[in-house]
């Protein structure tokens, strides 16, 4: 058995950060309260003061803080993104997670000692792309988009010395990560431009006696019966009429859950496992972190006897978006 990968958990607030650390995260990732990160939602994220406190809390317990600056610098405002990079370095984060090659270049030149990770939003799915970023910007880790099979992840790992991080749990979308403009199609704003998919100001939950309508910038994207589970209001998870049939034409609301293939993920040499959900509450962070921690520790103690406990699955199923969890692309027979 290879050594255990780091468990990297989301922190949208200070209580969420503490929940992650207290329940066994090896690292947390977080962002500033602005559009330099892809979870730029009202009331979420950190200012310099709360971030300093979060870093102190994590470091006191020997855990790492990774800072996501994972949106793309917008024309005329590049300085805002550079300032975020400088701020992260000043505050002493353990690594900065970047997607924009211009910013990677800036960070590399300006702060050569700073550890850099390539964000999932950087959309690097091949070892060639990852090795390019290592050669040019000195990245130490790359977060893989959720589109690769396990065999493909293994192929990447075998052909690079860059650490590989993969997603282990959380809401799925169409996963055209870093290249998705669906949200902009409906409302003119998307993660790459404003740091938010389907910004809340465009979302309307319209409760009717028999159903609830979800509208994104006035466009009806889904209608839920009263007992039907709901999902996030994104275009990719809407139901649309296609050739006379109304169904999830792009992607059904669903969550990734890798508990069943955790031994394989470790065996192929994945260095870190990431949990999605900076927009979720400290309660979610605690629930998911403690479950994955328990699974990883169980593997560490007796790899061959590892089996997924029903209690772990139940805990993760409860907090999942959509009524189902999948292994996503990891076990897809086709590529």
């Amino acid at each position: 058995m290879s050594s255990l990968p780091d468990l990297v958990c989301p922190a949208g607030s200070l209580p969420a950060l503490k929940a992650a650390i207290d329940h066994g995260a090896d690292a947390v990732y977080l962002g500033y309260k602005n559009d330099t990160n892809a979870r730029n939602f009202a009331g979420l994220n950190f200012d310099a003061k709360t971030m300093a406190e979060g870093i102190r809390y994590a470091h006191a317990k020997g855990r790492e803080v990774l800072m996501a600056i994972n949106t793309f610098a917008q024309a005329g405002r590049v300085a805002d993104w550079q300032k975020a990079v400088d701020g992260a370095v000043d505050q002493g984060v353990d690594a900065i997670i970047l997607a924009d090659v211009g910013l990677l270049d800036y960070a590399r030149r300006r702060h050569p000692q700073q550890r850099l990770h390539l964000s999932v939003q950087g959309s690097a799915t091949s070892y060639e792309a990852i090795n390019f970023c290592q050669r040019e910007f000195g990245i130490r880790r790359a977060v893989l988009p959720r589109v690769l099979t396990l065999a493909q992840v293994e192929h990447v790992i075998k052909n690079t010395t860059v650490e590989i991080e993969v997603f282990g749990f959380g809401s799925l979308c169409v996963m055209n990560e870093g290249r998705c403009w669906l949200s902009s199609y409906a409302c003119g704003e998307s993660p790459n431009t404003v740091g938010a998919c389907s910004p809340a100001k465009y979302v309307k939950w319209d409760k009717q006696p028999q159903h609830m309508d979800t509208r994104l910038n006035g466009i009806l994207i889904d209608r839920f019966g009263n007992d039907e589970p709901a999902g996030y209001p994104t275009l990719c998870k809407g139901r649309f009429e296609v050739q006379g049939e109304t169904y999830y034409a792009l992607e059904e609301p669903t969550s990734l859950n890798v508990l069943a293939i955790l031994p394989e993920i470790i065996k192929i040499g994945v260095r870190a496992i990431k949990v999605e959900g900076r927009q979720r509450s400290p309660t979610y962070v605690a629930q998911v972190t403690r479950t994955l921690r328990a699974a990883l520790d169980a593997l560490n103690e007796g790899g061959e006897r590892y089996h997924v406990k029903p209690a772990w699955q139940a805990e993760l199923a409860k907090v999942s978006e959509g009524s189902q969890a999948t292994l996503g692309a990891y076990n897809r027979p086709w590529r």
Binding site: G12, S13, L14, P15, A16, F41, A42, G43, L44, P199, A200, K201, V203, K204, W205, D206, K207, M212, F224, N226, D227, E228, P229, A230, G231, P253, Q279, R280, S281, P282, T283, Y284, Q287, K318, V319, S320, E321, G322
Partner: protein
């Protein structure tokens, strides 16, 4: 660490029927008193509070039939007894869901996905309020089983 958890429950229908006939102002006063106590302890961030100014909120407990309206004005939460327009933001859920949220036993998105929590009105305001409540660092409270879980 206590194993005490708030179960999901639904009060029988007659409770709501009865509850709707009772005066609604006590809920409003209790809720507003709680929020103002949090203000006094400086638990709520000022930058976000500014966005609440003059907004009208409704909290509806479906299975008790209780409804409270309140607003935030001039640095204080105040009950609204006479509603002159529709609220800007409305939360509706059964009592057990509200208790699970307050005890941080369940995540609001989870309850929303499961259709146990309804959020209607200004969605961005709703998200901000949700995130503001999530970001509260409760000071060391007495070790109630609900809060230590």
């Amino acid at each position: 660490m206590s194993d005490f958890t708030i179960p999901k429950f639904r009060l029988p229908g007659f409770v709501a029927t009865l509850g709707q006939k009772l005066p609604q102002w006590p809920h409003g006063l209790a809720l507003v008193a709680g929020l103002n106590a949090a203000l006094k302890m400086k638990l709520l961030p000022e930058s976000e509070l500014a966005a609440l100014e003059d907004k009208i909120f409704r909290v509806q407990v479906l299975d008790t039939g209780g409804t409270a309206h309140f607003t935030y004005r001039g640095g204080l939460f105040r009950p609204v007894f006479r509603l002159e327009r529709e609220p800007d933001l409305a939360f509706a859920a059964n009592l057990s869901a509200f208790l699970q949220l307050l005890a941080r036993q369940e995540d609001p998105d989870t309850l929303f996905f499961k259709r146990e929590l309804e959020i209607t009105g200004d969605t961005e305001l709703g998200l901000m309020v949700k995130n503001m409540l999530d970001a509260i660092e409760w000071p060391s409270m007495p070790k109630l089983p609900l809060l230590t879980r």
